[in-house]
């Protein structure tokens, strides 16, 4: 379908008009891809095609704009990512294939992120500086210090990105990150992200956190910070762009607190059923349609094509092998195990 051309004067007033329609369509497509993938993973978890599920349905509105703006590559010249387990849409926006996440869900040996060893959505991609995602809460805010130091030492505009949830900010690692990123001796180029969905598993944030905004933790350090509506990908796009520009240029940290929904609860441990919270994709579609920036047909096409891609991928993964018992011994040490290493598991 041909789209209406909006006059430049109107474009400048409306942030939606500041992004190219092609980019908006791409963002939508990737958000749908992320949602369809997560729904497939939940279905697999419930259907016995995997075990525990944890993921990011509801965070696509923030995660896709983030993934699209990452300076992707390997080494200090590129961005490092220290992510938590709700980051599938960041990965898809960076170019990851849904089939690989499905492989991890099914624990096949073809899982490129962990060879069937880790929970789903636990990425590890050295070619893109995606550091190993761990189920431990908030430790990524400690490890990000290291790549931040590496980049602070280099002549580069590469930055380190760390994300995690609101509940984890109670952990000391979050505060380690704030202190180390703001050391006068060596400020670090870290984009510190907290995705605030209002819960830590079943515990509401407002019962445990007296601070008005998590981003207020930036104030004692005189560090720039913003709390944004993470359910709006356009607001997220510009907030991330501003933050990245600052960190790339100033070589100092910046904090974003993104308020988002959590559409399927914490994980499969709480049933993973859909809950009644604002849906960033529905909101985005409404915003695009009312501005004639996308057609209903294109929206439907995104849903249909992504569902089909997941169907095909799932069918493929079902033919792929699981790890073998002896695979537990690979990668214990980089240089392998000596013959005398105890392998019997007892007497």
């Amino acid at each position: 379908m041909s789209k209406k051309v909006t006059p430049l004067t109107a474009r400048s007033a409306d942030p939606y008009m500041k992004l190219q329609p092609e980019l908006l369509s791409r963002i939508h497509n990737l958000m749908v891809k992320g949602r369809v993938l997560e729904e497939r993973l939940i279905k697999m978890s419930k259907g016995g095609d995997g075990f525990f599920w944890i993921g990011g349905p509801g965070e696509e509105g923030f995660n896709v704009p983030l993934g699209l703006q990452v300076k992707k590559g390997r080494g200090v010249q590129h961005d490092y990512l220290h992510l938590h387990y709700r980051s599938s849409s960041i990965m898809l926006a960076m170019g990851a294939q849904p089939i690989d996440t499905i492989r991890q869900m099914r624990t096949t040996i073809t899982d490129p992120y962990s060879k069937g060893r880790n929970f789903v959505n636990h990425y590890a991609i050295p070619e893109w500086n995606v550091c190993p995602v761990s189920p431990t809460i908030e430790t990524q805010y400690s490890t990000c210090i290291g790549t931040g130091i590496a980049q602070a030492r280099s002549k580069s505009d590469g930055l380190t990105i760390v994300n995690g949830g609101d509940a984890g900010t109670a952990e000391g690692d979050f505060h380690s990150c704030l202190v180390w990123a703001n050391r006068p001796a060596l400020p670090l180029p870290i984009l510190i992200i907290v995705v605030n969905n209002g819960f830590g598993i079943s515990t509401p944030a407002h019962e445990q956190h007296g601070e008005k905004h998590i981003s207020d933790w930036a104030k004692p350090f005189n560090m720039p910070a913003k709390t944004i509506n993470g359910n709006d990908p356009v607001e997220a796009w510009f907030a991330i762009e501003e933050a990245m520009n600052y960190v790339r240029k100033e070589r100092k940290p910046y904090m974003i607190e993104a308020l988002t929904s959590r559409l399927h609860g914490h994980s499969s441990s709480s049933g993973a059923n859909r809950v009644n919270e604002p849906d960033c994709i529905s909101i985005f579609e409404e915003n695009l349609l009312k501005r004639d920036l996308i057609s209903k047909e294109e929206i439907q096409k995104h849903w249909d094509e992504n569902r089909k891609e997941c169907d095909v991928a799932y069918a493929q993964v079902k033919t792929e092998p699981y790890p073998q018992a002896e695979d537990i011994w690979t990668d214990v040490f980089v240089d392998g195990l000596d013959d005398s290493y105890p392998k019997k598991g007892g007497s």
Binding site: V76, H82, Y113, P132, T147, D331, F333, P342
Partner: protein, 352 residues
């Protein structure tokens, strides 16, 4: 002869110059102090971190993922307990990522008793460290081994926990570090910072050369035929002294096997020595109940039962919550030379 602190310092300097070490850090590691045991004095890439052990280990892990081969210090091993899950991440990152993320990093930390360090400066961490699978663990007992193990640790693509026996950091060795001047005072003048104002001081490093002690390789520090002692760290020189005394007094021929590496450990060296002596005593200062040597002890029974002339024995720390400050309490808590003597006498006296 260099002491162990000087030996490690020289190894780190060699690492800076030849092995690509760019970040050596921890609490009070940089100028002016250069570490509470002076291990990092005068090093050009050493810097002070916040007082935050989790941040230190996390930073080291991130630097390792970026390929920087960092060496980080936790000031005393007693402070490392709040970093356990980060140490586990160090150990499991390669495995969990399907081999995609090597983790070349060194965490060094003073361990054990012997300086009247009371409850929080006397811990042993050896046994807990041995449970962080995927992490290599070394613990030297001589300056030369400390030098060689540190170079091996820096070169290794796995995370290495380098346990420094704090009671031995000031102990001098019997062997020269390759490149070390023979004159002890000359070395001190070259690389020890002066007392007082150090702002203008710069070390003059000897022309050091490579010397690597392979991780996983034990050393027979005293050959013997009647009984094997398997030990490491602070108690290794004590066991060596006992072996020499027994030899001099004609009380028995004691073989001392200094493990040097706890993970991976040199099982072949243990079995080889035991085949020769038929008697084995494990000696370390970590506490009883899941002591690292209890694993070796079990394995000896499982795999070497018919080589044993008498039951194996373990001499180790008492299973109490801490080591008391009073020397009476400390000596009652961790093995002393007299305890080693008694244990050897007993194992030699038992009829086969």
């Amino acid at each position: 002869m260099a002491n162990m602190a000087q030996a490690i310092r020289m190894a780190l300097h060699y690492g800076e110059e030849k092995l690509g070490v760019r970040e050596i850090f921890g609490e009070d590691v940089g100028a002016p102090l250069g570490g509470v045991f002076t291990v990092t004095q005068g090093l050009k890439t050493a810097w002070n971190s916040p007082l935050d052990e989790r941040g230190i280990v996390g930073a080291a892990l991130g630097l390792a993922w970026a390929g920087f081969r960092p060496v980080a210090e936790v000031q005393f091993v007693d402070y490392i307990f709040n970093t356990i899950d980060l140490l586990k991440l160090c150990g499991n990152s390669t495995w969990a990522s399907g081999g995609k993320f090597p983790t070349p990093m060194v965490i060094m930390t003073p361990t054990g008793s012997g300086i009247h360090g009371s409850i929080y400066h006397s811990h042993s961490f050896d046994s807990i460290a041995s449970k962080i699978h995927g992490m290599k663990v070394v613990c030297p007992s001589t300056p030369l081994d400390a030098y060689g193990l540190m170079l091996a640790a820096i070169k290794d693509d796995n995370p290495v926990l380098f346990l420094k026996p704090k009671a031995l950091l000031r102990a001098k060795g019997e062997e020269l570090i390759p490149g070390e001047p023979a004159d002890e005072k000359a070395l001190k003048d070259m690389i020890d910072a002066p007392i007082g104002d150090r702002t203008k001081w710069k070390p003059r490093w000897p022309d050091l050369t490579d010397f690597t002690v392979p991780i996983g390789q034990a050393k027979i520090s005293h050959e013997g035929t009647d009984v094997t002692i398997v030990t490491h760290g602070r108690l290794a020189p004590v066991c060596l002294e006992v072996a020499r005394d027994f030899e001099a007094d004609g009380k028995g021929s004691v073989e001392v096997l200094d493990l040097r590496s706890l993970i991976p450990y040199d099982w072949k060296a243990i079995t080889s020595s035991l085949k020769k002596t038929g008697r084995i005593l494990f000696v370390n200062e970590d506490t009883e109940i899941s002591n690292f040597a209890e694993h070796l002890f079990r394995r000896v029974i499982d795999e070497m039962f018919y080589e044993l002339e008498v039951r194996p024995r373990l001499l180790c720390g008492k299973a109490v919550p801490g080591i008391g400050l009073s020397p009476v309490l400390e000596y009652a808590s961790v093995p002393q030379k007299a305890d080693v003597v008694r244990a050897i006498e007993a194992i030699l006296a038992e009829p086969a």
